[in-house]
């Protein structure tokens, strides 16, 4: 047998841009301001993050509404260890979080030390980054809400 066939590396990179439009753009602007927003559907329910077109009727959705900074964990998983490309260096929860005033849960990290601290139905509160630029990473994650 001869040598194994040679392999060649192939790295393809290009910095694409995205035009966000009026609805997703409003959500990202809100993040920069430290505000969480959704969009109201004709039946009164609120989607977070917002969608430009109604997922049932396809009608345009335009009414941006502010929702709470806290919410409830609907379901979760534990990430340990995070992969090299994860935005988070430490083990953490990934949870579907139903923010107060929202009718769809949003995926984000719950920053706790152990899966023992995660439970479905727990209350969590947004943790903002110090520097914000209108990107989903402006939200560092969520932490358990202080118990009164």
């Amino acid at each position: 047998m001869g040598e194994a066939p040679l392999r060649a590396d192939l790295i393809l990179e290009y910095p694409f841009t995205r035009t966000t439009g009026p609805v997703i753009g409003a959500f990202l602007t809100g993040l920069r301001e430290g505000v969480l927003t959704g969009v109201r559907r004709p039946d009164g329910t609120v989607m977070v993050p917002p969608a430009e077109y109604d997922p049932v009727t396809s009608e345009p959705l335009t009414e941006i509404v502010e929702v709470g900074q806290a919410g409830e964990v609907v379901s979760w998983t534990w990430v340990d260890p995070p992969r090299p490309q994860s935005p988070w260096d430490e083990p953490h929860g990934l949870a579907l979080i139903l923010l107060d005033g929202a009718d769809t849960p949003m995926l984000h990290a719950v920053l706790v030390d152990s899966p023992d601290e995660l439970v479905t139905g727990m209350r969590v509160l947004a943790v903002w980054s110090r520097e914000r630029e209108g990107h989903i990473a402006d939200l560092s994650g969520f932490s358990p809400e202080e118990v009164a």
Binding site: L12, Y14, T19, D54
Partner: protein, 387 residues
């Protein structure tokens, strides 16, 4: 098996421009789709399926845009299909949509092509390095320029034929409010004096980079009969493809192109395309492709397509076969939509709805798209009369 009669009920286009910074991709396709529905006098709920096309994913960096865009296209609870044939995709997409009606699967289908070139770099996407071949980063123009030179040499065409095509299409574009380039003060000398980009292709002989979307509503015979306004009846549809490199390949006049044209004209009952077609919208991203395709399609004898250009036969004013009255790809190029624009403009002509670039009394029109290394072809013939 006989095909079901199929008609274009509505057409919708966005104004083509270099950047549509005000809308997302969803907002862009929505705009064109809604205009097509309004033109057809129909609602989202009247559509049975959506067929969408765009250029390859690397062009914008969106994987599977058809999933992300389903909501914007009113596709909840309906089938959505994506078609993918490089630059010809807009034409193939329209033909796949038409086949769903011709085959009796659906009664009314929304079809759309789009591109946001402002969010990407087509030349980068067309020039991806391969580990085992030289990467020259030349894009489409670098690929096609030797083929064009070969045509010039074998046909004996005068050097400025390409400039004549470019100047004509930019003049036509002034009569199309949707065209990207509106160069009111452009002179023929300026076209000629423009810098060589990929010799023999001048910068002035290439297409722009555009954002835009084009949509059509297609319907069956009953839907065509029920339409309040004029419709365009589909008289023939054909697609062909071939490898882009094999021994003996005629790259100037690919066999797939000739076969596709012969098939579509046979279906339409056309034996002399030049006299029986009133207006053509052909995919001409580089000026010289007008005479090349005129020959390949059968509008001119071999090596004689350039004479039609020289005689002004393809000009909207006084030509017997006006070509690209919309301004063509040379005046607007949202790649994923460009083929569909050709098909839609052909439909507008036979509906008598092409506005200032209308060919008076057009009864039968030809729509054409090509893609890849001139290896994918999509064509249709539409007419004012029921076939």
């Amino acid at each position: 098996m006989a095909k079901q009669r199929t008609a274009v009920l509505g057409v919708g286009q966005t104004k083509y421009q270099s950047t549509r910074g005000d809308v997302s991709m969803a907002g862009l396709v929505r705009e064109a789709a809604l205009r097509a529905l309004v033109d057809a006098g129909l609602e989202w709920s009247d559509m049975d399926a959506v067929v969408i096309g765009k250029a390859p994913d690397f062009f914008e960096g969106v994987m599977m845009p058809e999933l992300y865009l389903a909501d914007a296209l009113g596709c909840v609870g309906k089938p959505i299909l994506r078609v993918h044939t490089a630059g010809s995709v807009g034409g193939s997409t329209a033909l796949v949509a038409a086949s769903l009606v011709q085959g009796g699967i659906h009664r009314r289908v929304l079809t759309i092509g789009f591109e946001k070139q402002s969010e990407s770099n087509a030349t980068w996407a067309l020039s991806l390095p391969q580990p085992f071949s030289v990467s020259i980063n030349a894009g489409a123009g670098g690929y096609f320029s030797p083929i064009i030179r070969h045509y010039m040499e074998r046909s004996g065409a005068p050097d400025l034929i390409g400039c004549m095509v470019a100047f004509k299409d930019r003049q036509h574009a002034l009569r199309n409010p949707y065209a990207h380039l509106h160069q009111h003060d452009l002179t023929f000398d300026q076209v000629v004096e423009a810098p060589m980009l990929w010799d023999p292709i001048r910068y002035s002989e290439t297409c722009p980079s555009s954002d835009g979307a084009c949509a059509m509503v297609l319907g069956d015979e009953a839907a065509g009969d029920a339409a309040a306004g004029p419709v365009a009846w589909v008289h023939g549809t054909a697609m062909r493809s071939e490898a882009n490199n094999f021994p003996g390949r005629d790259e100037v006049d690919p066999q797939a192109s000739r076969d596709c044209a012969a098939d579509v004209f046979r279906q339409a009952g056309i034996s002399d395309p030049r006299s029986e077609i009133d207006v053509a919208e052909m995919y001409v991203p580089f000026s010289w492709y007008e005479p090349m395709w005129l020959e390949s399609i059968g509008f001119a004898e071999r090596d004689a397509g350039w004479r039609m250009v020289e005689e002004g036969a393809t000009h909207l004013d006084g030509g017997d076969l006006p070509v690209n009255c919309s301004g063509g790809v040379l005046s607007s190029n949202p790649i994923g939509a460009s083929g569909m624009i050709r098909f839609a403009e052909a439909a507008l002509q036979v509906r008598g709805m092409a506005g200032d670039h209308q060919v008076e009394g057009a009864r039968r029109a030809f729509g054409h798209a090509y893609g890849g290394g001139a290896q994918y072809f999509a064509m249709w013939v539409v007419g004012a009369d029921r076939p």
